[in-house]
Symmetry: C2
DNA sequence: ACCTGCACTTTCCTTCTAGGCAAGTAGTTT
DNA sequence: AAACTACTTGCCTAGAAGGAAAGTGCAGGT
C-alpha cells in the first residue's frame, strides 16, 4: 500500500489541485458542479479538463440526461495514483521541514 | 497551537515551496546551498528570494565571511506562519479528498 | 593603477500558462 | 426559424519563471 512519492506539476497547479481533490471525493462529478466549486468559467474548466484527460488523469463521460447533454468527470485509476503520489511527495516535503517552533 | 489553514499561492509555486521547506529545516541557509538544492541559476534564485523578502517571508543577511560576501537566508516568523498555514490548507484538501481505494 | 575574480543583482528576452470573451457546434425546445 | 442549453475552440492578454549576459561592489594579484 506504499505509494511512491512523485511530485506532479500538472496536479500541483492550484486550480487542477482543487479539481482533482474534488474528484477524489466523488465518483462522477458534473461539469456545472465543478465549475461552481472551483469558480471558473465554462471555457476555463473545459480546458483544464481537456488537459487532465490528455494526461490520462480523468475519464470524461458525455451522457444524455433526458434530452440534455451532461458531461461528467471522474478520476481514472492513473489519476488516483498520480494524486496519491503527489500527496505523498507533499507529505515528504512537510516531513523534511522541521516543523519547528510555530509562533502563535 | 491551531494554525488557521490558508492556501498561499506565493508559497505553493514549486520552486518557492522547495525553497521555503528547505528553510524550515535550517536556521540560516546560504545562497549557494539553496541554489544547488533547488537547482536554479544564481539569477533565478536571487529573484525568488527577492519575491519572498518582499512578502516578508524571509530575512536576508549579507555578511562578510573573511573578506568575501555571503548571503544567508532564513524564514521570518511571518514566513513560518504562512508556511504552516499553507501546509494546514493542503492537509485540509487531502482530508476532504476521500483518500479512497488506491489501486496498487 | 589595472585587471581579474567572486558573489550576487538587474536587465533583457523568450517561453509557458491561465483565464476571459466571443464565436462555434450540436441537439432541443418553442 | 429563433432561441436556448451545454459545452468547446479560437483569439487575445496578462503574469510568472528562468536563462544569458551585463552590471555592481569589494578584494587580490601584477
Amino acid at each position: 500500500m506504499t505509494v511512491e512519492p512523485r511530485f506532479d506539476e500538472l496536479i500541483h497547479a492550484p486550480t487542477r489541485l482543487s479539481i482533482v481533490s474534488l474528484l477524489t471525493a466523488s465518483e462522477w462529478a458534473e461539469f456545472k458542479y465543478l465549475r461552481d466549486q472551483v469558480g471558473l468559467t465554462d471555457s476555463a474548466l473545459s480546458k483544464q479538463l481537456t488537459t487532465l484527460e490528455e494526461a490520462g488523469y480523468v475519464d470524461i463521460r458525455k451522457a444524455f440526461i433526458g434530452k440534455r447533454p451532461r458531461t461528467s468527470v471522474r478520476l481514472s485509476a492513473r489519476g488516483q495514483h498520480a494524486f496519491a503520489g503527489h500527496v505523498a511527495a507533499l507529505q515528504e516535503i512537510v516531513a523534511r521541514a522541521g516543523m519547528a517552533v510555530l509562533p502563535d
